[in-house]
Amino acid sequence: MKVKMLSRNPDNYVRDTKLDLQRVPRNYDPTLHPFEVPREYVRALNATKLERVFAKPFLASLDGHRDGVNCLAKHPKNLATVLSGACDGEVRIWNLTQRNCIRTIQAHEGFVRGICTRFCGTSFFTVGDDKTVKQWKMDGPGYGEEEEPLHTILGKTVYTGIDHHWKEAVFATCGQQVDIWDEQRTNPICSMTWGFDSISSVKFNPVETFLLGSCASDRNIVLYDMRQATPLKKVILDMRTNTICWNPMEAFIFTAANEDYNLYTFDMRALDTPVMVHMDHVSAVLDVDYSPTGKEFVSASFDKSIRIFPVDKSRSREVYHTKRMQHVICVKWTSDSKYIMCGSDEMNIRLWKANASEKLGVLTSREKAAKDYNQKLKEKFQHYPHIKRIARHRHLPKSIYSQIQEQRIMKEARRRKEVNRIKHSKPGSVPIVSEKKKHVVAVVK
């Protein structure tokens, strides 16, 4: 008779001293782990609920301006510095880690229409309603020195926007036409225009640095080539675009913030159809900025909220609002892709977290592992109805909520009429136009 009994030596399973780690032998056999799918589902449900519990995105409000904040600019090398221009001509430089203002400059008489930093971070440019372009030093004036611009350029018309080249000592302003300036000259090296309209904003492409995009009040977006000093092509939309922003990761993608409550992501090579139409705002979209990852962007709107959209989806994943925040004029995503700053009508700049339930600071390895596991679970089970319902739920202020209901009824009515028109006419006579193509009027080369 050959016999062997299962006998375990407790020394192999129990720790030697109180100071040792506990021993946890693992066996991944599925029969020892029954109900895998329901247990994971419950864990995903808990993870989604906890994400909503810990979603507290508001960090700080920077107080100091005496009039509405009109424009924001990021420091290219320093994460903690941000510049803002107000409607009374004041420019302030803030330190985000200490949450205070480190410098104040009375830059212009009238609005500060645009502000941009030089790529090296040593100076910045401002344009204002007093038809001047001023260049200032980033470090403050020394002891006993007056606050004076490095350089002032007097123009003939009002400039409405400014943007600096990402690599060369060149900047562009817009007003009646788009001017490209060399920093050493007082006259623009070239002026480009297409049509008789005023241009509201201009942006350089961060990847293909010779490309520029601008938005005109003629409801069009014009793309320029700086090397050839000519406009390339333009796309005419239904309503006016307020600003555009280029995707820092994809060279040819840009997003336009439009007055018809939508944002349009275009591929520069094929402007006839937008890649995606982003619909979630209930009032004009005033500003848009991309995250440095190139996967998401944030938009500021005249309805008093800011929304975060993924590039490939047409609905927002997050909405931030506060009772105290009125019409949001400008928004920026910080260069470490973790925070969002917005400047609004009521003289405050607010700092928010990009991921509302993220824990800030250094995480231990166990915290990181738990966070990654929960993230993967939420992704895996995101389509289940109960989990989707909880993940999607956001509190909205009454004004926005009632506007959404109203606009939904209006859209439904329009769609129903369209469907009836198609049904009761000869098949093929009423063309079915996709939602994307509806808003583009024409593309001109």
Binding site: V3, M5, V24, V37, I422
Partner: protein, 558 residues
């Protein structure tokens, strides 16, 4: 045995066009052609082979099921997921090397029948620690005993018919509590850990602490005959004389469902550990399967000619063993066809049945206990020859294999006996699920995590992986509703639009010709498909008609 796929198949060599200096193309290292300085070659090139059955054990995706009308993007994503699952199952199969313990075994020499080997011989032949696991508690005073091991296999609770209830750590023989509840005890169960006991007393259900303090008396569960605890749902299922099957959620203390089984007195109950379905045996020979979500049984299986005396389900949920008043012991296949796989006539009917973690089946017939074993872990026990037998000092009233140990606990009218059954227990436990060597801190952490991931009772159904399947019905319904709402089908193929070509190739005539070509092609495809369908239908009709007996009216059939 099958070799696992080799990494890094032939990658075409890259040629750098800019750097003309580099003349030789870059080559990927081929492990087979690598020679060391001494000229020796690896006698076992490539990664180590992994046995196929072990890899199969870890595969969870059913590759034969296809999604109807899925898009190319979905299909490509599923392919990627399937490839990933293959890789991970191979890795998991490799990790089996790290399992420390081997299962026990008992083999007779030279055709010796293992059934003739008695417990005393085994105790002599085995080491001291294992020999100490065999003990007899002589408790004749307080009636026949029923027993239950806790989920980790470390603690044992038993209750005698005359009210004696005790809980102890049977490995160290340390008594936790011993009380007399002054009432008949019909069944006893540990709840999720060794801290709480449920005792089905004569009138009501009582919950005790492991120190013997009575915590709850649940009057809604009256005249309970059998108890079962579903560990992952924290549900205590009670079968009563009144014919009701009641599910009590012990984490919140609410009765989740009280189902009327409509079959008279409920005496025989067992749970399926794979899908948490309760099996009830009835006096008309049927076994019904219950879930708290449904008022009707999920299934009813006709098992025996007379009443069903005992039911047991194995840990993988594949086999169900039943014994009836007709002296038959049958093993049914629970996954797929609910047909009996093997039958055996017993001289006395078996009143109690239990499965071990490794698939051994024990039957208690009077005061004799028979154990049958199968070939491997996945096969059903073969009922030809018993593996072990033992005679006890009184008729058997309760049977359970100790989890993770080679021990069978028997409750009889003379007390409790712990028998040695080599090869019964799972040798390698998972420390995060049930760890017999856990400390107090580990138990507390485990309890919190288990409560957090408690599965809701509505998810109990015959297939525990049903939640992972695509809900095809809702998907199709949603598609229909969308088409209705929009007025057109957004996923339908758009009509062919010929692309305008340069150099005069885009005149009206050529556009019309191109359109015509595509339309003709589609038409031909349609005609081919319909012809094929017609042919298939004809074949089926022929097959049907040749099978049936020819009748005079056949001439009128088209």
């Amino acid at each position: 045995m099958e070799t696992a796929p080799k990494p890094g198949s032939d990658v075409p060599p890259k040629k750098d066009k800019l750097q003309t200096k580099r003349k030789k193309p870059r080559e990927w290292k081929n492990p087979e052609s690598q020679r060391s300085l001494s000229g020796a070659q690896d006698p076992f090139p490539g990664p180590a082979p992994v046995p196929v059955e072990v890899v199969q054990k870890f595969c969870r995706i059913d590759k034969s099921r296809k999604l109807p009308r899925s898009k190319a993007k979905t299909r490509s994503r599923l392919e990627v997921a399937e490839a990933e699952e293959e890789e991970t199952s191979i890795k998991a199969a490799r990790s089996e090397l790290l399992l420390a313990e081997e299962p026990g075994f008992l083999e007779g020499e030279d055709g010796e029948d293992t059934a003739k080997i008695c417990q005393a011989d085994i105790v002599e032949a085995v080491d001291i620690a294992s020999a100490a696991k065999h003990f007899d508690l002589n408790l004749r005073q307080f009636g026949p005993y029923r027993l239950n091991y806790s989920r980790t296999g470390r603690h044992l609770a038993f209750g005698g018919r005359r009210g004696h209830v005790a809980a102890l750590d049977w490995v160290t023989k340390k008594l936790m509590c011993e009380i007399n509840v002054m009432e008949a005890v019909r069944d006893i169960r540990f709840l999720h850990s060794e801290a709480l006991l449920a005792v089905a007393q004569n009138r009501w259900l009582h919950i005790y602490d492991n120190q013997g303090i009575e915590l709850h008396c649940i009057r809604r569960c009256d005249r309970v005959t059998r108890l079962e605890f579903l560990p992952f749902h924290f549900l205590l299922a009670t079968a009563s004389e009144t014919g009701f099957l009641t599910y009590l959620d012990v984490s919140v203390g609410k009765i989740v469902a009280a189902l009327n089984a409509r079959a008279g007195r409920l005496d025989v109950m067992s749970q399926n550990p794979y899908n948490a379905v309760i099996h009830l045996g009835h006096s008309n020979g049927t076994v019904s399967l219950w879930s708290p979500a449904m008022k009707e049984p999920l299934a009813k299986i006709l098992c025996h000619r007379g009443g069903v005396r005992a039911v047991a389900v194995d840990s993988t949920g594949t086999y169900m063993a039943t014994s009836g008043l007709d002296h038959q012991l049958k093993i049914f296949d629970l996954r797929g066809t609910y047909q009996p796989l093997s039958t055996r006539t017993l001289p006395h009917g078996a009143g109690h049945l239990a499965f071990s973690q490794r698939g051994l089946l024990v039957a208690g017939m009077g005061d004799v206990v028979n154990i049958w074993a199968g070939q491997g872990k996945a096969s059903p026990p073969s009922l030809e020859q018993p593996y072990l037998t033992h005679r006890l000092s009184g008729p058997v009233h309760g049977l359970q294999f100790c989890p993770f140990e080679d021990v069978l606990g028997v409750g009889h009218s003379g007390g409790i006996t712990s028998m040695l059954v080599p090869g019964a227990g799972e040798p390698n436990f998972d420390g995060l699920e049930s760890n017999p060597y856990r400390s107090r801190k580990q138990r507390q952490e485990w309890e919190v995590k288990a409560l957090l991931e408690k599965v809701p009772a509505e998810l109990i159904c015959l297939d525990p992986r049903a939640l992972a399947e695509v809900d095809v019905i809702s998907l199709e319904q949603g598609k229909k509703e969308r088409i209705e709402r929009l007025g057109y089908d957004p996923e339908a193929k758009a009509p062919f639009q010929p692309k305008p070509k340069q150099k005069g190739r885009s005149s009206t005539a050529s556009l019309v010709k191109r359109k015509r070509k595509v339309m003709d092609e589609e038409h031909r495809d349609k005609v081919r498909q319909s012809l094929q369908q017609q042919q298939q239908q004809q074949k089926e009709a022929k097959a049907k008609s040749t099978g049936a007996r020819p009748s005079a009216l056949d001439r009128f059939v088209r």
